[in-house]
Amino acid sequence: MRYRLVVRRYKQGWREAEYRAYEVDVDPDTSVLDALEKVSLEQDPTLTFEHACHHGVCGACGMVINGVERLACVTRIGEVARGGVVVVEPLRGFRVVSDLAVDKSRMFSQYALVEPGTLERVDGVVELEKLFDCVECGVCYSACPIANTFPEYLGPSVIALAYRSSKDGKVPAVLDSRRGVWACHAAFECSVRCPVGFKPGETIMKVRRGFLSGKLGVR
């Protein structure tokens, strides 16, 4: 099948972004990521995007595909193309580094609030010492109307992760502030778009209830 990939391009020093179309011949079950990589290898080596695992676990390839945040590596082109056209744009809510690659510092720089060795017991059997579910893709920041307009907002995933690494019923004080759970307008777009069903929005509500009822303290 022939598809038309319309990619939002932006390079350092440009006054504004531009859209550029590329034609690719791939099977409908090819991922949008593999289609982009094909373009970068065969047509335009200056096209940049972030990718690593190619199977939905590393969170590198979050993009806005035909208007919706997705992981490009687990999105089949045939399922999202409209009339053979796929528009690919960088995640919103982050600074664009180059084309589809964004700078996720705003999310990762808050990780001091998250226990590094999040030790989890799954089914009470095995201990996993890392982030088991959230793939750290930043999709929730892009989907969230608040994160898009309020750069100081901690963001859905970081709040949820900070809550999960709480100790003795206490979470970092900044969660109980305008930058924390009180910024949220309960749009729940984060939970809707999260590619792994981590539901940060629900956790934010839980933290709010915890603060209101006094069951959750701050440190």
Partner: protein, 384 residues
């Protein structure tokens, strides 16, 4: 004057090397043509080898196991403490068991045989007809995060990390590389970068890159296919108790199970696609290990290329280990350049240490490698 080194390639080898050299006090710039980990390293199973898969070669197995221990020590937060399990499904597997146990002991890898009942209690999704099971110290990781941890640590020691910067040529004069020519894709410009030493750590691309300088690296890209399933069928890594072959592992991390892998050889790592019959083979072999895999949705099929080390012409290579090689390009007219190829993701730190020794010796720097003892910075520090 602090000596300058350019490392080409932002896979795990280049990242670990940038860190090793920066820790020795050298001024390092790393160039990667795409995003970090976008070559082979990002696209692996994410298996922290215990060495058991390679027990036929005790040296290689021992090397894997000791690196497994070192990595867990310097960055415990990067690896799941899930372990692995080798299972015998048929008679031929069962025949391999005694050899396997003997070799694991020789290599010093702590393994433990468990009964069929116990194995099924620990991992209910294993094939219920299994005939033997051995627990091993495998682990799993998110490759990108490991690479970012090495790079964060390198940055904290002053290294300059430049993704989206592709080496497109070299300036070679008087038997020395003077500079690399770089295409910067972030601001669409080309520039030259001078240094005292250059290391080509581009894995399956090492031949293509060396050719830009008129040099040769005996590497063959050898791709392998992996099939990712939506859902986690086990906690430990499932391995077939037999000689390494196609479709004999299922690696679990986060909410995913990956069946791997196959192997063939190509000329150009930029022209590789997963053959359909490999996918079918993997799914069939996966079912033999864990029947439930047939019920899971295929989330992704992906493929990447090993940097397979070909035969080294006499005198050009320094075979520092059975599994990887450092190619000294001085005899080909580039006195200050080397290529490092081969190895495993799991052994990247060791490769970097040996390559670091080589570079340090050439530059007259006497600081030894300290990567085996120094804790790694967390991956999120890369962004701060």
């Amino acid at each position: 004057m602090t000596k300058k080194v350019v490392v080409i390639g932002g896979g795990v080898t280049g990242a670990a090397l940038a860190y090793d050299l920066a820790l020795r006090g050298l001024r390092v710039t790393l160039l990667e043509r795409g995003s970090i980990g976008s070559g082979t390293s990002g696209r692996t199973h994410g298996l922290l080898h215990s060495g058991c898969r390679y027990v036929a070669d005790v040296e290689v197995a021992r090397e894997c196991y000791s690196e497994n221990v070192v990595l867990r020590r310097i960055a415990p937060f990067l690896f799941e403490k899930n372990g692995g399990i080798f299972v015998a499904v048929d008679e031929s597997d069962l025949e391999y068991k005694d050899f396997f146990l003997k070799k694991c002991e020789e290599a010093g890898i702590p393994v433990k045989e468990v009964s069929r009942e116990e194995a099924l209690k620990l991992e209910p999704n294993l094939n219920p007809d299994l005939k033997a099971a051995v627990l091993v110290p495998d682990g799993t990781f998110d490759p990108l995060k490991v690479i970012l941890s090495f790079l964060a640590s390198a940055k904290q020691r002053g290294a300059d990390i430049r993704p989206y910067n592709e080496v497109v040529g070299f300036r070679v004069e008087g038997g020395e590389v003077k500079a690399v020519k770089v295409r910067d894709k972030v601001s669409l410009r080309e520039y030259e970068l001078e240094a005292d030493f250059f290391v080509n750590a581009t894995g399956a691309w090492a031949k293509k890159v060396a050719r830009l300088a008129g040099l040769d690296v005996p590497v063959k890209p050898s791709p392998g296919v992996m099939v990712a399933l939506d859902g986690r069928v086990g906690f430990r890594v499932f391995n077939r108790l037999n000689k390494p072959g196609d479709g004999d592992i299922i690696v679990h991390h986060r909410g995913t199970s990956v069946i791997g892998t196959t192997s063939w050889v190509v000329e150009d790592p930029d022209k590789v696609e997963a053959p359909r019959e490999h996918v079918e083979l993997l799914l069939r072999r996966g079912r033999e290990l864990a029947p439930v895999t047939s019920k899971l949705r295929v989330k992704a099929v992906y493929v990447s290329s090993r940097p397979l080390v070909g035969s080294l012409p006499a005198g050009t290579g320094r075979e520092v280990s059975r599994s990887f090689a450092i190619i000294d390009h001085s005899r080909e007219g580039a006195g200050n350049m080397a290529s490092v190829i081969g190895g495993k993701f799991t052994t990247a730190r060791l490769m970097a240490e040996k390559t670091g020794d080589f570079v340090a010796e050439r530059l007259g720097v006497s600081t030894p490698s300290r990567t085996a003892e120094t804790p790694l910075a967390p991956y999120w520090a890369y962004f701060t």
